[in-house]
């Protein structure tokens, strides 16, 4: 399985994502400069976290016009896997590959801490090794993670089972106090309707080894690889 990690000016989690795919999963992985317009050789394209284009205008607003993003849209259309983490999630929203938008955190602060997340959907290529209701501990690090979508959009997300992760407390309850940024209904991660594009604010690439505080992020990476192997065996 071949991974491509797209690097924008201002990406800063690209090396962690490369490490996850290359070293933890042991798969061939390339860094792909954002000016690349052909991503057809990749089975999974990762849009890493960071501050592409300095978050100017809005996070992800300028990155979405990079040549690589046209290729990401084509790959998504062909059913390839696309994983957008943090700024990568914001880019997917701006590009319209996922529904909704990100507002500034409701308390206006940058939050960098480990959070509990409840797995709401274990039927996606990114989460199928988990159990519904499973609680994960993953780091977050963002100032713009306050997910918003209008009522019709929210109803559609629910109808199609597109909500994948919610911020929750240690018992798995998605309470207001467990919500680190004001996100609508504690939403932390969603998939597109087809299920092959996943955006999330937490950082699974930062939770792969005990030395860095936990291994819960392996669920996402290993699910991707097993899903692909199951479809290409």
């Amino acid at each position: 399985m071949r991974f491509g990690v797209v690097v924008f000016p201002g990406s800063n989690c690209d090396i962690d994502c490369y490490h996850a795919a290359k070293e933890i999963l042991g798969q061939p992985t390339d860094y792909v400069w954002h000016e690349t317009s052909d991503l057809s050789s990749y089975d999974c394209i990762v849009l890493p976290g960071g501050f592409s284009y300095g978050d100017y205008l809005r996070p992800g607003a300028i990155a979405r016009f990079a040549p690589a993003m046209q290729a990401v849209a084509e790959a998504a259309g062909r059913g390839k896997l696309v994983l957008g983490i943090c700024n990568g999630f914001q880019i997917l929203l701006e590009a319209g590959l996922l529904p909704g938008a990100m507002r500034r955190n409701d308390h206006l602060q940058f939050r960098c801490e480990t959070r509990h997340l409840r797995l709401e959907n274990n039927t996606t290529p990114f989460t199928h090794l988990g159990e519904r209701g499973q609680i994960l501990r993953l780091p977050i690090a963002h100032a713009d993670g306050n997910y918003y979508i209008d009522e019709l959009g929210l109803a559609e997300l629910k109808r199609n089972n597109q909500i994948v992760l919610r911020y929750c407390d240690a018992e798995g309850q998605p309470t207001a106090s467990a919500n680190p940024n004001g996100a609508l209904e504690n939403i932390a991660g969603i998939v597109n309707r087809r299920g092959n594009v996943f955006g999330l604010m937490p950082h699974p690439e930062r939770a792969l080894e005990n030395i860095t505080g936990g291994t819960d992020g392996q669920l996402v990476w290993t699910s991707i690889l097993k899903w692909w192997e199951g479809n290409h065996a």
């Binding site: 809005r58 929203l93 701006e94 938008a101 507002r103 206006l108 306050n146």
Partner: protein, 83 residues
């Protein structure tokens, strides 16, 4: 040429945490009569356009394509002859 002045704000009904923080700051300074504060962005564009109609069209296109996220933002603009 025309100069466009564009105001981008969060849509009505969408919580504006920065505006609320500023309102709180004003209240703590004794400006209790400030009922609401909405924060936003102000942009000026100088446009190659030969008519106001053409300039207005350009502004709408730039807003809808990049400058504004229609999921959560609204915009208004004015035009004046420039140069």
């Amino acid at each position: 040429m025309y100069k466009a002045k564009i105001w981008v704000t969060l849509r009505q009904g969408i919580l504006d945490p920065a505006g609320q923080a500023v309102q709180k700051g004003l209240h703590s300074q004794g400006f209790g009569g400030v009922r609401d504060v909405r924060m936003g962005k102000f942009m000026e564009l100088v446009l190659d356009a030969t008519s106001e109609r053409e300039a207005a069209g350009l502004v709408r296109e730039t807003c809808e394509r990049l400058l504004v996220n229609p999921v959560m933002e609204d915009y208004t603009f004015t035009l004046e002859v420039h140069g």
